[in-house]
Amino acid sequence: MDIDADGHNDILSGSYSRMSQPMAGLFQVLSGKPDGTFSQAAVLEGTDHEPLIIPATEETIIENICTRPSAVDWDQDGDLDLVVGNFAGSFYTFSGEGQGRFSPKSEQIMTDDGPLKIQGHHSDPFPVDWDQDGDIDLVSGSSEGGVQWAENSASSGEAPALKPFRELIAADPRISYGKPLGEDDLTGPTGSTRVWVDDVNADGKPDLLVGDSVTLTTMGDGLSKEEFEQKQAQWEKDLAKTSEEYNAAAGDQEKLQEYSAKIQKLYAQRAEFIKEDRTGFVWLYLQK
């Protein structure tokens, strides 16, 4: 998308948080250059020359971290606006004033029943006319996996009016923690989904690209399946016992520290019989 209307595609990104306090997931732009290359990321600022930030307090910090922006003419006034998601799973807009300039004041997207929110966290807005009725709907991934969409029910020329999110693709069942999971076991995206919509096979119907996050697990070197299962069972038993002791020690700081250290040690021991590989893949759903 050409954010600054200079004739060159730019890359727009959210982020988890700036390093300085207070936390805030700033928006970043890698500006496209005439030679087809990109500039380094620069913080996207509002017309007040301050970073665009979703307003939040210390208590509502999840509203403004882990952001994802999309640029689209949301209010149909001819300028690109920003529709942004966050850790909390809600959505905000920053009104565009043309050529990459945005109002510093954001507005939360509401439904008739309150703030528009996805099921889960990590709202991931992809504005698109999903139901092909001429207006902009929102498609989103979620921390819980799967894909959701919110229908825009506004009439032509009216401001968008979103209905609550509903399921487009069900989240895969939760993978049992600690069980071996290889690439060949995967049949679809797992958790923390991020979506992109496009007509990939040019059949006139929108398709979905879904990124995810998954922890692949394999048995430690030299272990037989039986040995692995024994160690896993013993480890789970030890963890359950120590967790119980930790919970029973509520209020006793000395004991809490002791059991906390034990739990940390158990997790370190786990690495002796199970290997973890945290990664993520990109899945294509072609629409029938």
Partner: protein, 98 residues
């Protein structure tokens, strides 16, 4: 980490009321290997023509260091092996993602 060459995609065709049926999902490949991101994961895909050849390439953002892998579109649904997106002669990194 999320990366986005943002676009409003308006598709032609009859109204479908949002209902959709999909084929079984397949993992995208870059070259002959599945597209995958570094630990701790969080793949964020995007399709956009970044090399100006008229075909949409695959960009995948990741959490680690806020880097973006680019997979050139080879046509027929195929993508080449990926390479890191560069900016001003260095691997591009989006701050605030680590």
């Amino acid at each position: 980490m999320k990366v986005l060459l943002s676009s409003l995609v308006l598709f032609g065709g009859a109204a479908a009321c949002g209902a959709a049926e999909f084929q079984r999902p397949v993992r995208l490949l870059g070259g002959d290997q599945p597209v995958r991101v570094e630990s701790p994961g969080y793949a964020a895909p995007c399709l956009a023509d970044v090399d100006g050849d008229g075909a949409k390439d695959l960009l995948v953002g990741q959490f680690n260091q806020g880097k973006i892998m680019v997979y050139k579109n080879l046509g027929d649904g195929k993508f080449a092996a990926g390479s890191w997106l560069e900016a001003e002669g260095a691997v591009a990194e989006v701050p605030g993602v680590w």
